[in-house]
Amino acid sequence: MNLGESVRTGFVEIWSHKTRSFLSFSSIAFGVAAILYTFANINYMYERRTKAFEISGPGRMDIQKKQVPGTVTAAALSKGLTTSDAEAIVEAMPWLYMVSPIMRTWADLKDGTFSESVQVEGVTPEWRRRGWVYQMRGRFFDDYDVETAARVAIALEPGGWAGKKPFWARWWKDEGFDLHVKRADLLGKTVTLGDGVYTIVGILKNPPKDKDPRWFFRSGGNILVPLTTAQRYLAGSSETKAYDAVDEIIVDTGNIDTVPRARRRIEALLSGRHRGVTDYEVSDFRETVQNMLENMRKYAVAVLAVGIVAILAGGVGIMNVTLATIFSRIREIGVRRALGATRADILAQFLTEAGLLGILGGIAGIAMGLTGIKYLTDDGPETIAALLWWHFPATLAISAGTALLFALYPAYQASRLDPVEALRYE
């Protein structure tokens, strides 16, 4: 009996037991969907990492302010992280691509009747060098703004959506400042920030939310002002704080290979300047990314495990169905043997039926997986786009292979039936 024949018979059998067949292939389908999702996720993860590296800069390091216990002694020794630290780093290593000190604070923004507490970032022109994903209207700050602590500000506008608002963001609404900045054209306007009056010299429009490549270093600011302006007029009062205190210095060496060298020098330099008080923390950006990737990998492994369990359950389902099929068809097996079917013919027949169930389940699972990814995850379209062509045959092979594997034993049992006994079976 040839394969085409077995396949035809298999379809007839599957079709004549719709419920039973549906149950067994749906469990396979769940497994396949989970596995497909994992494939997609893992690949998307690597794509995003590459992209994130490109945008953030390959040689990025973060120096962050850190609270230390025993503040009184520490304050006597060290002033904390300051603009001077950033300047010292530039002086020691002029070859660094970017040294961008940032100060963060909150201030009340008033524009006519609009009033809200917004997050303000004090930055230098260096800020532009990396992570630039904005569409700019107006101008950015220049060195003159920083030197003179000019009362100028830049507003960040939300990016909205690339296309139609996706399903998962149905309840997303721009509110407060985001809404205001979208409605009122602030460029060139004068607003009140804290207790001073500022001119909005630029508007930075964020990339669309669903296309934003900065998936792990999104800054939370609403308003940018020159660093010195923030330090002088907007900083909260704190007795221990230096006048030029910053919250963070972002460094980019410009090249991934120079990161360890730069890091050692920066640590040595800061250690000297802060007299041994570690009120800062240098983190290699790669570490941050690696940690995040590690978490994602663990997550992917968990999903994969679920997928494997589901597919195994599906396999057991197929085994069950094959056994049930065989029990209800013992007499048929006897008849077929009497009519000239060899053991191999019987084995092939049941394996074909199981294989078909597996393939059907696989196809259903792929459909289910794609639908699930599209509508239930944050980055549906991107995740699907990250699937490679071979993921589909691979998933199909996994499901068909599982089905065949689990059908092997019952099918073998069927082929070993004594034809005389089988014919007599009621």
Partner: protein, 227 residues
């Protein structure tokens, strides 16, 4: 065509139930023979051995000139497929297949092409008087019609020997006569037939009656038949 010599069949281990006690007989080509006997006499066991569904514990079996008692399972299956045709009491048609598909089944195992299979199956169904009913499933056929499909299926691979186990056991007397007439026609065309029955009226249609009791042939007679 068929010759068995001292065939013994013991079920279970040595000392188990002995169904056949060194039975011997020969059926020449083209003969229509009937095997009769009370139930439990070993008829079915004999038929299974003759049909190569089972192996004798001891003894020789020559089918169509070649010894077959020592063949492997696969070899026996192939001989069964190519030289033997089975007609069952319970018809044993596959319920989800049409008459045509049922007749095609043995030819599929013999490796015949799809077109040829269908052609031959149609021919056979016409031969047994079922022209126009090829696409009905067994459920849509009467008992007699089902048995005709069964006979057509048994003839599918042009067997040398047709084995029928109580072929009229599930049919009423009128239909039985029709089926028997069909057997007689096949016999006239030169088919060797071996029919197991316990109905004397049916056995009387054969050329020869072998009476079996307790696993041995107790009588080998020619029926007195008005011709």
């Amino acid at each position: 065509m068929v010759s068995i010599e001292g065939v013994v069949k013991v079920y279970g281990d040595a000392g188990g139930y002995q169904a056949l006690n060194g039975i011997s007989f020969a059926i020449p080509d083209g003969q229509f023979a009937a095997i009769m006997g009370p139930s439990g006499c070993g008829k079915s066991t004999l038929l299974n051995i003759l049909g190569l569904m089972d192996q004798p514990t001891r003894g020789a079996y020559v089918l169509d000139g070649s010894p077959v008692q020592d063949l492997s399972d696969a070899e026996r299956t192939h001989v069964r497929r190519d030289k033997l045709g089975f007609v069952f009491q319970a018809f044993n048609l596959l319920p989800r297949m049409t008459a045509l598909q049922n007749v095609c089944l043995p030819m599929g195992y013999a490796g015949l092409g799809r077109v040829e299979r269908r052609e031959r199956a149609k021919e056979l169904l016409k031969r047994v008087g079922l022209a126009g009913k090829e696409h009905r499933t067994p459920l849509e056929l009467s008992g007699g019609e089902r048995q005709r499909v069964g006979i057509a299926r048994a003839l599918a691979n042009r067997p040398k020997l047709l084995l029928a186990d109580e072929p009229t056991g599930n049919l009423d007397s009128k239909t039985s006569v029709e089926i028997l007439t069909l057997f007689r026609e096949l016999h006239k065309e030169g088919m060797t037939l071996l029919l197991v029955t316990h109905d004397p009226a049916i056995a009387a249609q054969a050329d020869r009656i072998l009476r079996i009791k307790d696993g041995s042939v107790v009588a080998d007679e020619k029926p007195a038949r008005p011709s």
